[in-house]
Amino acid sequence: MSAADDTDQERLKSALWYHVGKLVDEACMNLNVNATPQFIGSLTELAWVQFDNIAKDLENFAKHANRSTISTADVLLLARKNPDLHGLLQKVVDEEAAARAEKSSSKSKR
């Protein structure tokens, strides 16, 4: 079981690595810089640990509210110590809620 688990972890990490690489490429293009593969690898490791932290936080936030499904309120709680981050996430949540509210019409604002 642990062997299968390990390969699962590896595959997940590879998938994350790929997407981290893309996001880093995008940011680098905006700034006109380059990143070494080692930089991307380290950042993937960092994101991996961050996922570990936030997944457990989110789970416990939901549990604390007597829910078994993580909601956007729990995600917003992640950013409680950083008002700027909270504002940005709130915007995403609001947009998402608005999109859901008028899902019948295909027209969407930017």
């Binding site: 998938a15 960092l46 295909s106």
Partner: protein
């Protein structure tokens, strides 16, 4: 990633997510705002990663919450790059002399503590 579509008109009205695993051959340059905004970690991967780290099998996550986590990680990763460059360039990530700048692991090491405190 989504293959390049020929017309911008189709781009405008379709805000659908592309769930499929990208092939590494696909290499699209963001040539406008719309394309840039689409570049995120796919929700399926986010959900799998979160599930992977959770202790209780029964915990679920809503679609909107997954999307918000996606934004969170997008900000986290982008912020890491900007801070790394900013750190090398004395607080000015858009410095003119950026061309040819290579980000190294040491750059990430320097900004990691504060980054983790801010997220």
């Amino acid at each position: 990633m989504p293959p390049k579509r020929p017309s911008k008109a189709t781009e405008e009205d379709s805000s659908n997510r592309r769930p499929r695993e990208p092939t590494n051959a696909a290499r699209d340059e963001p040539d406008n705002e719309q394309e840039e905004r689409k570049l995120t970690i796919p929700p399926e991967l986010l959900a799998k990663l979160l599930k992977n780290f959770m202790e209780d099998e029964g915990t679920k996550i809503s679609g909107a919450a997954t999307k918000t986590v996606g934004k969170y990680m997008h900000l986290f990763l982008t912020e890491a790059v900007y801070r790394a460059v900013s750190n090398r360039r004395d607080g000015d990530p858009w410095s003119r002399t950026n061309a040819g700048l290579m980000l190294e692991v040491e750059d990430l090491e320097k900004i990691t503590p504060q980054l983790l405190l801010d997220f």
